[in-house]
């Protein structure tokens, strides 16, 4: 077997009350891409934090280039040649690309003044290497998310990183950006970089990685070459049990139109109309920035429409704000749990009931017994894993947070449910449960809109899929017609194919 450039062996890390890592191991090989897989809470992030020196391991060893190492802070690991690109980028918006790349390590003249010329020219060289078409003097805020990620990579390269760890790098990227990221990864590994790739998206793992390492409950489970493994086997290793069919589609048989959107415009949305039946899942596909979230927020009243109408069961709705939409049975579950979905510092109970308080109170006084009952009911129904209702929601896993977000909306017994990226940042096991919940709502006759960038999920669950491009609907496919290629073609704005 080839020699690893970086070896983490039997790492144990205990936090008060939790054993986050319990014999986790990982080998990284020069010139190879290693996938690090595991459900949320399996210990991937903790392991990476131990590696980069954010946490100190209780026991276990780290060997880098055949030397035992121990980093007491991230700066040390960076200087040694290990860089982590976090899911949430550590960049400063009002600074230029070059300033971001050299933040804290600015080249200086002998007088201690920043040597701008060297800095910009070095940064430009790095950017050229990564095929970024911006000058190093461009402000970071002018870049797309994908380009910002390239800046993070440039930063890693500027420190001569030999191991680069990427944590969910494609979560916010469009398909095009993902493709160019993959090209960069291939180039980096060809130059001898060892890469650790963390992602929930199995497709990507098979596209880009050479080997995989699976963690479960903080333990090392398996390491294998990607060629020797298939998707089912990988999921089985991750969850420790077999998952039956990943996308449990159920036929819908109702015909009554529930929601009908007519000529909706505003905030970049241009004259969109569509109908939604009871018990139907309507998928929305499209690239980032195509206006999917904006459309949903227009329907929900979170953004003001310039034109158009929304009808529910044949009656035109007057929606001026979110409360109006909620009161009339339209709920929206945000794509961005942290940003505008949940109150992360507050309890499960308070999060779940916040929309329903008007129903749970009289003259402003909250009936706390009733509230507790309802919350308990949903915790059970949705199988939400929380020690108690007063647990701070930020401490739950992504999957459980998402379930609370959905429960919060469903507590209002809505007629139309809009799910925006319902499984972003959710691990495989919880994903399955969320799909089953969505199907349950469907069976109950709820009309469901699902916005998703995860194509297999969209294809697997939707009855119909609409594709958006630049604020308009560029195509509509039935479940039978839709394929990944067609969706993508419509999303990038190619003229619609003949058969649809």
């Amino acid at each position: 077997m080839k020699q690893a450039i970086l070896e983490l062996t039997d790492i144990v890390k205990t936090f008060p009350g939790v054993k986050a890592l319990d014999g986790a191991s990982l080998n990284v090989y020069a010139g190879k891409v290693m996938a690090l897989m595991g459900e949320n809470g399996a210990g991937k992030s903790t392991l990476m934090k131990v590696l980069s020196g954010v946490y100190q391991a209780d026991s276990g060893s780290i060997r880098f280039k055949d030397q035992p190492v121990q980093f007491s802070n991230p700066r040390q690991s960076q200087l040694a040649g290990i860089s982590i690109i976090h899911q949430e980028l550590n960049l400063i918006e009002h600074l230029t690309i070059a300033e971001n790349i050299f933040l804290g390590r600015e080249p200086t003249t002998r007088m201690g003044r920043i040597d701008w010329q060297t800095m910009f020219s070095q940064a430009d060289k790095l950017l050229a290497k990564l095929k970024v078409k911006h000058s190093a003097k461009t402000l970071l805020s002018e870049l797309s998310l994908g380009e910002q990620q390239m800046v993070e990579i440039a930063k890693a390269l500027s420190m001569d990183a030999q191991v680069i760890i990427m944590d969910e790098p494609t979560d916010a990227l469009t398909d095009n950006e993902t493709e160019s990221l993959f090209n960069i990864i291939r180039e980096l590994s060809a130059q001898g970089c060892g890469i650790v790739y963390i992602s929930h998206r199995l497709k990507e793992i098979f596209t880009i990685c050479d080997d995989i390492t699976v963690l479960r409950d903080g333990k090392f489970i398996a390491q294998a070459a990607i060629a020797d493994i298939d998707e089912d086997k990988m999921i089985e290793l991750m969850v420790g049990r077999q998952l039956d069919e990943q996308y449990p589609y159920q036929n819908s048989c109702r015909e009554q139109t529930c929601l009908s959107v007519k000529g909706l415009s505003g905030h970049g949305i241009d004259n969109i109309s569509f109908d939604l039946k009871q018990g139907e899942i309507l998928g929305f596909s499209g690239l980032m920035g195509a206006g999917r979230t904006e459309l949903m927020k227009l329907i929900f009243g979170a953004l003001n429409k310039h034109q158009g109408q929304v009808h529910l069961n044949g009656v035109e709705l007057k929606i001026n704000n979110c409360r109006d939409a909620l009161d009339q049975g339209i709920v929206y579950i945000s794509e961005d749990r942290k940003g505008d979905g949940l109150l992360l510092s507050q309890s499960v109970k308070h999060n779940m009931s916040v929309c329903s308080l008007p129903l749970l109170s009289k003259f402003g006084h909250i009936n706390q017994q009733l509230e507790q009952q309802q919350v308990a009911q949903f915790i059970e129904l949705f199988n939400i894993k929380t020690p108690h209702q007063n647990q701070t929601i930020g401490l739950l896993s992504g999957g459980n947070q998402q379930k609370v977000a959905i429960a919060k909306a469903l507590m209002l017994t809505p007629k139309v449910v809009i799910l925006d990226e319902p499984t972003r940042g959710v691990d495989v096991g919880a994903r399955k449960e969320i799909y089953q919940l969505i199907n349950q709502f469907k069976q109950q006759g709820l009309a469901i809109i699902m916005v998703s960038s995860d194509m297999p999920e969209l294809l697997g669950l939707s009855d119909r899929i609409m594709v958006m491009h630049q604020g308009q609907i560029s195509a509509e496919f039935s479940r039978q017609q839709a394929t990944q290629e067609k969706l993508l073609a419509a999303a990038v704005g190619k003229t619609q194919c003949e058969e649809c």
């Binding site: 704000n321 979110c322 939409a325 979905g341 109150l343 006084h365 108690h388």
Partner: protein, 325 residues
């Protein structure tokens, strides 16, 4: 609770006790302060002195309650001192004109509510940062007070109405001073508001994540305006106590009160980032400041040093709090 097994609940009970102790550290600090000072100076622990401290604390405590609400929404209200001065001047001149107290006092409170609401509207509708908006109203209202009073104290006069009015600051019921009763009532009411009403829940939600609150159907602007109006009302109530006690309104009254109130809130463990904190914490915070002032007086510490001690205590408390997070 029903998701727990019995075994798990005993261990979580232990955990909860230690958690509770940590959360109550400001209370423990307060008790410690009382014990230490009463050992040094036996006069400290007399009923008279304790009631005296409570009465002195009441004005800051009542303002700090309003400040807590504002800070829970991730805002700040620097204008409370100026609102106090203007409402005090208004109350004093109404009493001076022998307007019955049942009209004069509600008028002063309503004025406080209106002035607070104006700050709230500037913040919510005008999208001005709370710090800036209330810095403006602070300066503006101080100016209005100066113009209104011509820079001179306003006496409540020597009428029957003035005597009735004086009761609020100097009277007592069941042996307890009226300002202390008012403080207790205000705390109880706001405790109920925060823990048992929709409005209270919305205050926490807005401070926790404003855009999530908006998407959850909360009328964020209305709640914010309401909170600033409440804060103004409580500043007006404090004004009535101060004015009543002195039988006159000083145009410079309430200067620096906003900082004492903020100190009490912060000592009570409420996060300036909003969304987290308790009203009981604010009560304890206000009491700590009150007891500390009194103790330093009894111990003959000069008022110059008192400021330094006070500042050090607040800094220490906040740093301990940060460490735990």
């Amino acid at each position: 609770m029903n998701t727990q097994t019995p075994v798990a609940s005993t261990t979580t009970n232990n955990k909860r006790i230690s958690q509770w102790l940590i959360e109550q550290k400001s209370l423990i600090a307060l008790l410690l302060l009382i014990v230490v000072v009463s050992l040094i100076n036996p006069n400290f622990f007399s009923v008279d002195n304790l009631l005296n401290i409570l009465r002195q604390t009441s004005v800051n405590a009542i303002i700090a309650v309003g400040m807590t609400l504002v800070i829970l929404t991730a805002g700040i209200d620097l204008s409370v001192g100026s609102v106090l001065a203007l409402c005090g001047a208004l109350a004093a001149s109404l009493i001076g004109m022998e307007v019955p107290i049942l009209v004069a006092i509600p008028t002063a409170l309503l004025a406080g509510a209106t002035l607070g609401a104006i700050s709230g509207i500037i913040i919510a509708k005008g999208k001005v940062q709370a710090f800036i908006a209330t810095l403006v109203t602070m300066t503006l209202l101080r100016g209005v007070t100066m113009v209104y009073t011509d820079g001179r104290p306003v006496s409540t006069g020597f009428t029957d109405v003035a005597d009735q009015f004086a009761w609020f600051g100097t009277g007592s019921a069941l042996g307890i001073p009226i300002p202390v009763w008012l403080m207790v009532i205000v705390f109880a009411a706001i405790w109920y508001l925060l823990n048992h009403t929709r409005f209270g829940r919305y205050i926490y939600a807005i401070g926790g994540n404003e855009s999530a609150a908006r998407l959850s159907g909360i009328n964020v602007d209305r709640v914010k305006i309401g909170v600033y109006a409440l804060c103004g009302t409580l500043a007006a109530l404090a004004a009535i106590i101060v004015t009543s006690r002195l039988s006159s309104a000083q145009p410079t009254a309430g200067m620096g009160y906003e900082l004492d109130a903020i100190a009490a809130v912060v000592l009570g463990g409420t996060s300036l980032a909003g969304g987290r904190g308790r009203i009981t914490g604010t009560l304890i915070g206000a009491l700590i400041i009150g007891f500390l002032n009194n103790a330093l007086n009894l111990l003959d510490v000069s008022s110059y040093y008192q400021m330094i001690v006070k500042a050090s205590v607040i800094l220490l408390a906040v740093m301990i709090d940060n460490k735990q997070k």
